[in-house]
């Protein structure tokens, strides 16, 4: 699937040798406790390439955490992100803030489960780009020490049905100690992914959470034109939609790896996720080509079905699909709690 961009979030699970809390991600300890901080992610999109910048926070050698993040396509590069891009964006939309930390790379391999497309190490963070279905990626994660939460199988399929590409990340405790990496110190990651439109996985932010737990995240979009964004519920709000200021663009362009931002500026969209995990059943679908956001990208339609659901031209409005999806999800969860269902297979 060739779509988007930015994946701010995500993540799935846990367990590696040291704690990795990804920006915009759910992270769990071995006993299932969720440790989720408010996270930030930038999804920049220019010349058909999504630039996804997020940060993993080292949470110490005692914990066992890791993350798995769905991607819209195979990254052409995985590198250390700039030191202060996310902070600068946060400062643009809030009062003030502060900075970050560290990267490099290497190989290829193959497992019996998911296919390993790329392995690289950035600072003390071991990153693996995987290709496979939900079961395959889940098996790979399990075999590699990740502890998957009970909702992981369904969520992995939710993403793999649309794009079989995932990124797994975990801190190497020994490497972190060797580097003197402090707990709370972040490692920014910058992925460049060719796509047709920007995209941000939101549902995965609720991974491992109880339905009534809150999910909070900041998502920044930088696009060459004002995008059409799928806003399905009160849990996702568009707080800013404006031409990026000259100061912001100049500052971002001066950070490491951010020279892809056009000199003549970009459109800044700032979205805030503040939702119950049980309500966050969709992803952020964005269109920068003048069309309606894709219902498939939003997770409201199966890949291969109607690629988009533009309101008013015969297709179901994406907001209606979202409402139906949320309603069905709510009913499904309620019914599924206690009832036994007959397996279709």
């Amino acid at each position: 699937m060739r779509r988007l961009l930015v994946v701010p979030l995500a993540l799935v699970f846990l367990m590696a040798s040291a704690g990795a809390a990804m920006a915009c991600a759910g992270v769990f300890s071995p006993n299932g406790t969720v440790n989720l901080l408010r996270t930030s992610t930038l999804a920049g999109y220019a010349d058909g390439v999504e630039h996804y910048v997020t940060s993993f926070t080292f949470s110490g050698g005692g914990g066992e955490f890791g993350s798995v993040i769905p991607l819209p396509g195979v990254p052409t590069t995985v590198e250390r992100g700039g030191d202060w891009t996310l902070q600068r964006l946060n400062r643009e939309v809030t009062p003030v803030q502060e900075a970050f930390a560290a990267a490099n790379g290497k190989t290829l391999a193959r497992t019996d489960s998911a296919e390993v497309l790329l392995e690289t190490t950035i600072d003390a963070l071991d990153i693996t780009i995987l290709k496979g279905g939900g079961d395959e990626v889940g098996t790979w994660a399990k075999d590699n020490g990740f502890l998957l939460s009970p909702d992981a199988p369904e969520v992995l399929d939710f993403y793999a049905d649309r794009s079989p590409i995932f990124m797994a990340a975990k801190f190497n405790a020994a490497a972190a100690e060797e580097r003197g990496q402090a707990i709370g110190e972040g490692t920014p990651i910058h992925l460049s992914i060719p796509t047709d439109n920007p995209w941000v996985p939101l549902r995965i932010l609720g991974l491992g959470k109880q339905e009534v737990e809150r999910v909070e995240a900041d998502v920044f979009l930088l696009t060459e034109r004002k995008p059409d964004i799928f806003i399905p519920s009160d849990g996702l709000t568009l707080d800013r939609s404006e031409q990026g200021s000259d100061g912001l663009i100049a500052d971002l362009r001066s950070d490491k790896g951010m020279e892809w931002i056009p000199e003549d500026g970009m459109w800044l969209s700032y979205l805030r996720v503040d939702s119950l995990a049980g309500d966050l059943t969709y992803d952020l679908a964005v269109d920068v080509n003048g069309d309606a956001p894709s219902a498939v990208d939003a997770g409201l339609a199966k890949a291969g079905a109607a690629p988009s659901a533009p309101a008013g031209d015969g297709g179901l409005p994406v907001w209606l699909l979202a409402g139906v999806a949320l309603g069905v999800a709510g009913l499904g969860v309620t019914a599924g709690r206690w009832s036994l269902r007959r397996t279709a297979a």
Binding site: D135, G138, D151, G336, L340, R342
Partner: protein, 132 residues
């Protein structure tokens, strides 16, 4: 008879039945595990009935098949046993595996089928079992 005692008898009566392949005298009851949910026909049995559960785990993560009353579920929710294979009503079901276990229901009552790996039970991995 108290349910704990019933469960104890269930354990004793289901002789060596974990992973029993040939239980001709019992009927087979398929229980699939998918997306961390038990999926099957309603689980209703008669007192004295012996059945072989054929538990198929379609998930890429491990699960458990813990059959018992609420006290049994509560004990396992707080328990620390990483693996189960000694009692027919308490069986570990590895990722992608199919496990068979034979159980005889001695007394009428309401039981629960649950999984107590971290957060699984709270997530909804439980189902009612009625013995009439």
């Amino acid at each position: 008879m108290k349910l704990p005692l019933v469960m104890g008898l269930v354990g004793l009566l289901a002789i060596g039945s974990v992973v029993v392949a040939e239980a001709r005298s019992s009927s087979e009851v398929p229980v699939d595990i998918n997306y961390s949910r038990f999926e099957s026909e309603p689980l209703r049995f008669e007192a004295g009935q012996t059945v072989t559960f054929v538990i198929r785990n379609d998930d890429p993560i491990d699960h458990e098949f813990i059959l018992g009353n609420q006290q049994v579920q509560d004990r396992h929710e707080l328990g620390t046993e990483a693996h189960h294979d000694a009692i027919p009503t308490e069986v570990s079901v590895p990722a992608g595996a199919t496990v068979r276990t034979t159980v005889t229901f001695d007394e009428p009552g309401k039981l629960i089928l649950g999984c107590h790996l971290p957060r699984h039970y709270a997530y909804g991995m439980r189902a009612p079992v009625t013995v009439g």
